[in-house]
């Protein structure tokens, strides 16, 4: 059963009562909330995700609850708690969805050390994954969406989860957070974009969530081996091209995007070495996301013709 199959009443009953358990990538979240608007936003963005059985133990227990409003003239507040901990103070209730999304990222990054976690988007084609790594504003979400339009499968827009033992990337195809002008861009790129409510203004500007493609959610249990590591940088006047990077440079660049490299120590070093060994690394300055996506797509085409020289041991 999917979240989208539940009626409005059933949703409210679950969220306000025992909590709704849902499988998102390798994790089970149990979400409690009495906030109507959040129920609507969350269940729209996560409509295709499976609802778990009551007997399935969760990894994180999330509570998004109304918070005390100190002054009557301030707008209604809410708070986010995961197992009693919270990454931030209260926030305006109307922004519960974006804050909850940041909260889920925080849960994963601070606890899921079974994975080596990178700040990057991951997409897959023909069994190989491209890791698109870069700081916020580098254009990775836009490039990611452009690749989805070319038939790539979404593994994640925000976090790459690398299983250090077997070198596989685990999907976590959560909604894609679109900021500012990229909302309009992506509406133009994707044939049938399913974009939710636009939240404005947050401390990161205007924000909306793109509902992940159905196929990405249906395949969320299927990991992929890494094929390419791409570092996109968007600039209006950039000369769009793929610049091959030496392995050592690729290693250091990707390490800088890793959340728990220090925590995992030797395991992290070995896993990242293995990844860089099997993947080609590129810099990708670009002006137009569509043109950049075409180049990345070319990498996958070449791989189909020449076979898989990159196969992991």
């Amino acid at each position: 059963m999917k979240i989208g199959d539940l009626t409005r009443d059933q949703l409210h009953q679950r969220f306000a009562g025992p909590g709704l358990r849902t499988r998102i990538g390798p994790f089970v979240f149990r979400v409690h909330t009495p906030i109507d608007r959040f129920v609507t936003d969350f269940s729209a963005a996560y409509a295709d995700f499976p609802v778990c059985d009551e007997n399935e133990i969760s990894d994180f227990r999330i509570r998004v609850t109304p918070a005390f409003r100190r002054w009557p003239w301030r707008e209604a507040q809410a708070e986010f708690r995961a197992d009693g901990e919270s990454p931030f103070r209260t926030f305006p209730r109307r922004l519960a969805m974006p804050f909850a999304e940041w909260g889920l990222n925080w849960c994963i990054c601070s606890h899921a050390h079974q994975f080596l976690i990178f700040h990057s988007a991951v997409v897959e084609k023909a069994g190989r994954a491209a890791i698109l790594a870069g700081p916020p504003g580098s254009g990775k979400s836009t490039l990611c969406a452009a690749l989805l339009a070319r038939g790539w499968r979404l593994l994640s827009d925000e976090l790459a989860l690398l299983d250090p033992a077997r070198g596989r990337l685990f999907p976590i195809p959560r909604p894609v957070a679109l900021k500012g002008t990229s909302i309009g861009l992506i509406e133009g790129l994707l044939p049938h974009p399913r974009i939710g409510r636009v939240f404005a203004p947050t401390h990161k500007g205007t924000l909306a969530h793109l509902r992940p493609p159905l196929e990405a959610v249906e395949c969320q249990a299927e990991p992929a081996l890494p094929g390419w590591v791409v570092f996109p940088t968007h600039a209006e006047n950039a000369d769009t091209r793929l610049v091959p990077l030496r392995k050592a440079a690729g290693f250091l660049r990707l390490e800088r995007n890793c959340f728990n490299y220090d925590a995992l120590g030797r395991t992290a070093f070995d896993a990242l070495s293995q990844l860089i060994e099997t993947a080609e690394c590129y810099d990708l300055p670009f002006a137009q996301a569509a043109a950049a996506a075409e180049m990345v797509d070319g990498l996958a085409e070449r791989q189909l013709v020449t076979g898989l020289p990159l196969d992991a041991a």
Binding site: I57, G84, Q114
Partner: protein
């Protein structure tokens, strides 16, 4: 009737975890995560041989917590190595405290234990020059407002925290184990006299002083709320060192010498009643004779300590718990400072808190 403190019970009897339903298991894991005790709990459970029987998802969470704890331990050992290099290398005597000491001494309780910062002790007389020396070697004072700075300098047993410029690690430099104007004032020279030198040249408290320090931190200086980890430390120290009868012989006399019998009495009382720590009967009697508080105090402390050890989760949130935590918070300050400065300090704290919340 107090609710069932699952985490406490799991530490006292790890075998019970096997029989828990999904709801209780989730509550236990949430509580462990909140207290930062997940990895330690997982080792306790492993020792009883039932780890394999737990759901795969739980084992994955345990493995993740262990990986993180190992990373923290590696970082801690490196910090100790650097401090040793900078301080001992320049002739400053240094004692490792708490987590740093357990890790350096390779004690079983260091397994899966995570500490937020590194704690060391230097002699009072060399405190200022040691601080300057550390600052010149990359440990920078953490930004504090004027009031907090004055508080640390005037009322505290440690320097304002230092943070390493490159590694970001926090360092607390103590000169004794309790604030200088608190009700109890143990003489720190005793710690130096009986300190134990490790193979690498660093020094740690002797076993009895280690146990007393935990007791003091929990029941004299700390707030008890969220102190479950401290109680587990005390239990594991007693289990480990208690195999040597000499430890039990020296424990109460050492507490008497330092004037720390009251916190020791509490630690023994709550470790044995809540965690099932085996304390030889003569030691219990000896501690009770020397450090037992009057009956009304005992009657008030028992339920307050039990509720303060409960986690701050919705399942456990009751007005009674809040009242108990507040009373223990005031108690900890009452023990720390004379009445007038205390009133000033608490007013200031309440003001800052209220101000921060509205701005």
């Amino acid at each position: 009737m107090l609710p069932n403190n699952l985490l406490l019970r799991a530490f006292a009897d790890p075998g019970l975890v096997n029989g828990l339903g999904v709801e209780s298991l989730e509550l236990l894991l949430a509580q462990a995560r909140m207290a930062g005790l997940t990895a330690r709990l997982s080792y306790r459970i492993e020792d009883t041989g039932i780890l394999a029987a737990l759901p795969a998802r739980v084992r994955t969470q345990f493995a993740a917590a262990r990986a993180a704890a190992e990373g923290r331990r590696r970082a801690l050992e490196w910090e100790v190595n650097r401090l040793h290099h900078v301080l001992t290398g320049s002739g400053y005597p240094m004692l490792l405290l708490k987590g740093a000491a357990y890790a350096a001494a390779g004690l079983p309780l260091a397994r899966g234990r995570t500490s937020a910062d590194v704690d060391i002790m230097v002699p009072r007389g060399q405190l200022d020059s040691a601080e300057k020396h550390l600052v010149s070697h990359g440990w920078e004072p953490v930004e504090l407002d004027a009031y907090d700075k004055r508080y640390y300098r005037g009322w505290s047993h440690e320097l304002p925290p230092l943070r390493h410029r490159e590694r970001g690690s926090e360092l607390d430099v103590h000169h004794t184990i309790l604030p200088p104007l608190s009700r109890l004032r143990p003489d720190p020279s005793a710690f130096w006299r009986s300190a134990i030198a490790l193979a690498d040249g660093s020094r740690v408290f002797c076993p009895t002083h280690m146990a007393l320090h935990v007791a003091v931190h929990l029941f004299q200086d700390g707030e008890i709320a969220g102190g479950l980890g401290g109680l587990v430390d005390f239990d594991e120290l007693c289990r480990h060192f208690g195999r040597d009868p000499g430890f039990w012989h020296e424990l109460v006399p050492a507490a008497v010498e330092l004037g720390l019998v009251r916190p020791l009495y509490y630690a023994l009382r709550y470790a044995s009643s809540l965690l099932g720590t085996t304390v030889p009967e003569p030691v219990t009697d000896e501690a009770a004779r020397a450090g037992k508080p009057p009956r009304p105090v005992r009657a008030a402390m028992d339920p307050m300590v039990r509720s303060a050890l409960l986690p701050d989760l919705p399942e456990y949130r009751t007005p009674w718990r809040r009242a108990a935590c507040l009373s223990l918070y005031i108690r900890s300050h009452w023990l720390r400072m004379p009445p007038l400065p205390l009133a000033r300090h608490l007013l200031r704290k309440a003001w800052v808190r209220g101000f921060a919340a509205t701005s």
